[in-house]
Symmetry: C2
DNA sequence: CGCGACCATGCAACGCGTTGCATAGTGGGC
DNA sequence: GCCCACTATGCAACGCGTTGCATGGTCGCG
């Protein structure tokens, strides 16, 4: 049930509506935990029932259906309880490796273009992460605990994409000389 | 529907029973595509209905319930058709990053031990992959196309675990001096 | 004034993956 | 001779994540 806890975290950072959460997930948290607006609305409903969050009609009442959510003490407690739990490592799970293995067993399937496509996608993400890093974590900035942690998370993404770009390069060399 | 195609690949490499597939998934293919025996039996049933594979009672008939599966031409065609498709990049999806972010917003939650645990788990996997590499891909071995591809897949795992070990080290330094 | 883009929430249904349990035969160890 | 571990397959149920669709309001543009 990480989604609930990701939402609690996001709501603690900034109380918001389901819609705003959905958009924020597309940016910061979405880099390592994705969710659609459907999941988010459904989960917010459950969390409210559980007494972890409460909602109130937005200030611009009447005009829109917008509702804003805030974390209740019980929600904060739950988040702290959960954060201390041990969790299994996320498993590597990649269709493309299945394709490669299929290529190995049924003969050349022309995977080079797909490999190039993947390389480009990873390189795009890497560039985007680096841009965020340059903007949000300049060398001379004051490093609070919070900022250092956020930077650490970003570096995980950078490391991840960088690794894949490097692997794609190697794989292209290997597949190329087939 | 990658599971079906992973099974087709595995069955082309070596016709087998559901049980054997389940065990093989724990080793080779399972490194990048996991499946429980439940999923496998269910999927084999569907694939047989679809005419991609056929089963026959095992030679030691009568004694056990064992059934062996083999890929039919339609299954082979389907695998080749699928392998050429474009696929979205697998997304990074990691609970621990949510925990870190929670730590940043509700104060120190004592994540260092968990970080050490993760580092050890990644290092274990890395060591296991390196052992497989030393055993199956010695420098002097003949490099067929198939072997080069299998090595490439293994290197993806090595690269992946290596990256996480390095990141854990950095994260431990950062969290340590808090 | 109408239309398209965006804000904002939600229902219904499906599928993959997970969990718990059931069944039954076989082979080895104490 | 009994118990345990392993081989081998399967049912039932649940939950998360996905997809397609529906609804209705606001705001800017031509």
């Amino acid at each position: 049930m990480s989604l609930a806890h990701a939402l609690l975290t996001s709501l603690l950072e900034q109380p918001s509506s389901g819609y705003e959460l959905a958009r924020r997930f597309d940016k910061s948290i979405g880099h390592f935990w994705q969710a659609t607006h459907q999941q988010i609305y459904r989960e917010l409903g459950r969390m409210e029932k559980a007494g972890w969050i409460r909602s109130d009609a937005d200030p611009d009442a009447g005009r829109t259906r917008k509702r804003s959510y805030g974390v209740l003490p019980a929600g904060r407690d739950e988040l702290m309880r959960w954060a201390a739990e041990a969790a299994p490592l996320p498993e590597l799970r990649d269709e493309f490796m299945v394709r490669l293995r299929a290529d190995a067993v049924v003969g050349p399937l022309g995977l080079l273009p797909e490999l190039e496509r993947r390389r480009a996608l990873h390189a795009d993400k890497l560039r985007a992460y680096r841009a965020i890093e340059a903007r949000d974590f300049p060398a001379d900035a004051e490093a609070t605990r919070q900022r250092r942690i956020h930077h650490l998370i970003l570096k995980a993404g950078i490391q991840y994409e960088q690794g894949w770009v490097a692997w794609c390069d190697e794989a292209m060399r290997e597949l190329g000389r087939a």
